[in-house]
């Protein structure tokens, strides 16, 4: 009898525990992890992602609990960090740099119940989606302004690494400039770093010495703008508004806003409706925002800029629609066609008008 009582009691206790714990579990917040390639104070790429994370916390409040790991090197180290975030109970993990693609894919296989979202790559799996802003739309608009503002018809870009993402931006910038000024040429200098202000400065100085009078960049620090300001030429902000670093030279900036994507994805995961997708957003979806034009931008340039921006928001224009030729003059996109997503994602050529060759 006694034993039976004991049994009954324990069963009851277990049942009540279960009863209590179920509603508790439902109210438990979704744990969301972020892996950043730079420090959150980089004033550029990682900063923009962290703003998205903060917006997510603000929008969903107690429904989510976010953590982040900053300055994680791309490659093997990142796998360890991603794995750690997964074992710590994060159910949704954003990995925010191209080089995290393969590590993310590996960890995703090992943790089928965790959802992974990788930025700027091209791989998907059952529990792994990817997302990328059509940043080249902004780069194209910078090109339009640059093409109108240059006097020497010589543009330059301080570039980071020769990967498709960066090549798309260089090409879009050049195409944008050519759309208003067919005579322009673009110089590219690779600094092989996302973030080394001193190197970025030297690259910018070099191009100015070689005759460039409007500079763009695909690196994250404001060093290029500072040089432009000193030497009295024009340049653009990248990733975030950098006007305070160069009030005279900063014509506009191509900035990112990931808030919408982070909020929508977390909502979908909480509701159980998340599916692996390749999510893309641009000017239209509010992922890309252009910062205010400098007073130095001519009325003519403003008009061209606004017209193209409107066309891209309406969807009647995209930077990579034909005809597009590469450096050798070979047709890459036929007139009337647009480049398919797959080719965009693996772009590996310079368009006509870019000087030099892609480092192999």
């Amino acid at each position: 009898m006694k034993r039976r009582n004991f049994f009954a009691l324990t069963t009851l206790a277990a049942a009540s525990l279960l009863a209590f714990s179920t509603p508790l579990r439902a109210a438990e917040p979704l744990k969301v992890g972020f892996v950043y390639v730079g420090p959150i104070g980089d004033a550029g790429w990682t900063y923009a992602h962290d703003q998205g994370r903060l917006a997510l916390e603000k929008a969903l409040g107690a429904q989510v609990k976010t953590t982040y790991v900053e300055s994680v090197p791309e490659g093997a180290d990142s796998e360890r960090v991603i794995r750690k975030l997964a074992t710590e109970g994060n159910k949704l993990i954003f990995t925010t740099s191209f080089g995290y693609m393969n590590p993310t894919e590996k960890v995703a296989k090992a943790f089928p119940n965790v959802i992974f979202e990788h930025a700027t790559g091209y791989k998907t799996a059952k529990n792994m989606g990817n997302y990328e802003a059509r940043f080249y739309e902004g780069a194209y608009l910078l090109g339009v302004v640059a093409g109108k503002m240059t006097k020497k018809n010589s543009l330059g870009i301080v570039a980071s690494f020769p990967i498709p993402e960066v090549l798309r931006n260089i090409n879009a910038f050049t195409l944008g400039a050519q759309s208003v000024n067919p005579a322009i040429k673009t110089k590219v200098i690779w600094v092989n770093s996302w973030y080394d202000p001193a190197k970025e400065r030297q690259a910018a100085e070099t191009m100015i010495a070689q005759g460039v009078d409007v500079l763009g960049q695909n690196t994250d620090s404001p060093a290029t703008l500072q040089v432009a300001q000193e030497k009295g030429i024009y340049a653009f902000g990248w990733d975030s508004d950098m006007v305070k670093f160069a009030p005279k030279s900063h014509l506009t900036a191509n900035t990112l806003d990931w808030s919408n994507h982070y909020i929508e994805t977390a909502k979908a995961v909480i509701a159980g409706t998340w599916k692996p997708k390749e999510t893309r957003g641009g000017l239209k979806e509010g992922w890309i925002k252009m910062s205010p034009l400098n007073a130095a931008v001519s009325a003519d340039a403003t008009k061209a800029f606004e017209a193209k921006k409107k066309a891209m928001i309406e969807g009647s224009f995209t930077p990579f629609q034909g005809p597009i030729k590469d450096q050798t003059g070979a047709i890459k996109v036929a007139a009337g066609a647009t480049m398919p997503l797959k080719e965009l994602m693996s772009m590996n050529f310079y368009v006509e008008g870019v000087e030099g060759s892609i480092p192999k």
């Binding site: 104070g41 080394d196 202000p197 001193a198 500072q226």
Partner: protein, 308 residues
């Protein structure tokens, strides 16, 4: 390359070389006294962030430079206390100092990101700066470019020609003998480590106040380690530091000019060049083991305890 290109090329080279000259000279003096401080990178970062912060809040670049030196000296003092007084391992403590400096500077600098100050102005000398070609080539740099070269010359003279220099070298070779004839080995080593800290701080501040007037985390990007390598490169002789730093800076800048001219050499290879040049020179000077042996302070990295 025409003259039009040569002048900006040399100007960029001086900018790239100056922080290295400063940090390496400071480290060289510390090493000459027998202390190996691997914390140069950390001290440079602390100097960079402090110099920037103070300049931003006071508007005085000279105060910023002074604060950078003092802050980096304070971190060097921690190192000195640990290794000289508490006798901890110099290599491990130096590495820890770098990690500490990286973290500390990021922490201090949280509110400074995204701000900017007026950069250290380039000097303009009457008449001299206006000489065609030589004016822009030699007489239009900021004060620290000239200061760093003067520093090397003075340090070289101090080490080679003065009593203080002789004592510093003596305790670097054999602290025990130095101690036996009555020199305060530990106190002198404190001084050389603090001097190393001050120069590393100044080198860091050159980055955040002159080269790229802003603060960003980890902005030294490994230059502290290059400064350490330069000391070996220079075989512990100050004038070799100038040669090494300008060579390194020159090759760094040259790779960008090469790219700008559309040289068909992969840019990754070009970014490797400065390091490659350093290794080649190291191999070259190591061919004669005597060169290194003769110049390397014999007690480098070894702790000394005055027991009696």
């Amino acid at each position: 390359m025409t003259l039009d290109h040569l002048i900006p090329f040399l100007a960029s080279t001086a900018g790239a070389a100056t922080p290295l000259v400063l940090a390496a000279t400071g480290e060289l003096v510390a090493e000459r006294s027998g202390v190996l401080n691997l914390g140069v990178e950390g001290m440079m970062l602390v100097g960079a962030v402090t110099g920037f912060g103070v300049t931003l809040s006071t508007g005085q670049i000279s105060l910023g430079l002074l604060a950078a030196m003092l802050a980096a000296m304070a971190t060097a003092l921690i190192f000195a206390f640990l290794t000289l007084t508490l006798q901890t391992n110099q290599v491990a403590t130096g590495l820890a100092l770098t990690l500490f400096g990286v973290g500390l500077s990021a922490f201090i600098g949280r509110g400074l990101v995204g701000q900017t100050v007026e950069r250290l102005p380039n000097l303009s000398f009457p008449v001299l700066s206006d000489i065609p070609f030589f004016g822009p080539l030699l007489f239009r740099f900021d004060v620290l470019v000239y200061g760093s070269i003067a520093l090397v010359l003075i340090t070289g003279w101090m080490l080679a020609r003065t009593r203080l220099g002789l004592i510093i070298r003596a305790i670097g070779e054999s602290p025990r003998s130095g101690h036996a004839i009555g020199y305060p080995v530990i106190a002198l080593r404190y001084l050389t480590v603090l001097f190393g800290g001050a120069m590393a701080g100044l080198g860091g501040a050159y980055l955040s106040l002159a080269l790229t007037p802003m603060w960003v985390e980890g902005m030294t990007a490994g230059r502290g380690w290059i400064a350490l390598a330069l000391v070996v490169f220079a075989t512990w002789k100050p004038r070799g530091v100038i040669l090494g730093a300008y060579l390194f800076g020159g090759v760094t800048v040259l790779q960008f000019h090469g790219q700008g001219f559309g040289l068909a050499i992969p840019s990754e290879f070009l970014s490797m060049l400065p390091y490659l040049a350093t290794i080649v020179v190291l191999v070259f000077i190591s061919r004669k083991p005597q060169t290194i042996l003769l110049n390397k302070p014999m007690s480098l990295g070894q702790n000394f305890r005055a027991d009696h």
